[in-house]
Symmetry: C2
Subunit: 259 residues, 2 copies
């Protein structure tokens, strides 16, 4: 039986400034954390909001430079959306999962992205981007972005920390948004408890926990969309090193009853 | 702009024994927490795993006393399940959302419960129940269960704490399980950021966070299905009092694109 779990600390890092394309996120984190007297320790999990990773990687599109196709124009009319935004969404999309046009000005477009994330508008987002008509796209490969950040953390802080990149998404059946892991490095994104025994000695069946998603949600509690806490440190969580990234959490479409 | 979020502590309470029907959970919690030197403070969120709430409330069925209907027998054959278990699942179900019979011995039954939760097997669960063929059902009204627990906490500890009851569920599109809130009292389950401004002064659109679900996931990280930490205290999270329970998170079926 595993040892009793430790207490976790969920630590938002204050003082992260607005991020611009080309910024070195870990250098900025090191400065902000140092200023706040926060260290990064061996075994910490450092959680980055997708928005700042996208900005640092220059994944920003100015809608004024987008020429919508006739198809995007037509979908945009149907859904009551900006046709330039629809064009950008489609450029990120491999499959439309649902399109809801019942409300003329509040149409919904749920799509699968190239990275396998299913979300509204392919994660294309206008909030928290300064400069009129600019939107952010998800990182091209969030697991690779997480790998690079973990490498930079190793270099800057001299410790092995896991890295998770989160996005805020809606879900079927339940209202409200939650944070999930779209990128992960340095820890297994899933925790397989199968084959173990429960506290009463009964075998645990079908218990594979989406650890990286639960960590993303825990960090999301203090990321506070409105108050600039896009980096959060989780301390005390015992994870298994290795794994193949957040991509591991994406369900095989063959096994998915809701696509 | 809101103040910078505080650090959170996620504190598993050790020493909770096996729970039996009729047990007073808060009395047991008080003894275990006292023994471990853990206090419950004003503004804490006390998170209970559904399993122990169900057990204390006597929501246990002995499959040996279940007489499956011919319909349950037939569905059980199709899905490779115990017909008595299928009978119990159907007794908790208002609507079958998906039935997957492609794998003869691993059929899936995703249903909506009377309480509006959508999950596999209506939350009927055999793990962590001692005594051969016994299974637990979800509490009859988890928001009401949370209300009673909050009242008992007020009486035992003299503080106002919010209470969340969690269950572990699967999700469309993503593998692995996460913990969600099926009951909530003493805090708003959802946090509405609409109308506020983001860090750059842009209006926040459509940002309603499912706070209670993110808190459930944070607690789930240390609940450790295998090691008896069914009560977790979350400290430092600033929530709004009031609200109408976890039921608030259940999406209006009219608005749901996936039922």
């Amino acid at each position: 039986m595993p040892s009793f779990p430790k207490q976790l600390s969920i630590i938002p890092v204050p003082g992260i400034p607005e991020i611009k394309p080309g910024d070195d996120l870990v250098r900025i984190l090191a400065a902000a954390a140092g200023e706040a007297g926060i260290s990064i320790e061996e075994g910490d999990i450092v959680v980055f909001a997708q928005k700042i990773v996208s900005k640092a990687e220059g994944r920003i599109v100015d809608l004024n430079e987008v020429e919508p196709s006739p198809f995007a124009e037509s979908v945009a009319r149907t859904l009551g959306k900006d046709p330039r935004l629809v064009e950008v969404i489609f450029s990120e999309t491999t499959k439309v999962i649902r399109m809801d046009q019942r409300k003329p000005d509040k149409g919904r477009l749920i799509v699968e992205t190239r990275g396998g994330i299913i979300s509204a508008n392919a994660g294309v987002d206008a909030s928290n981007v300064s400069g009129g008509d600019r939107v952010t796209l998800l990182p091209l490969d969030s697991d690779e972005s997480a790998r690079k950040l973990a490498e930079d953390i190793k270099r800057a802080f001299g410790v092995d920390a896991a890295v998770i990149i989160t996005d805020t998404v809606g879900r079927p059946w339940r209202d409200g948004l939650v944070d999930i892991a779209i990128g992960c490095h340095g820890m297994k994104a899933m925790r397989d408890l199968r084959g173990g025994l429960d506290a009463k000695g009964m075998p645990l069946i079908a218990t594979v926990m989406a650890d990286a998603d639960e960590l993303a949600s825990a960090a999301g509690l203090v990321m506070e969309k409105a108050s600039s806490a896009p980096v959060v440190i989780i301390r005390g969580y015992e994870y298994e090193k290795g794994g193949t990234g957040a991509r591991e959490i994406i369900r095989d479409p063959e096994e998915d009853l809701f696509r």
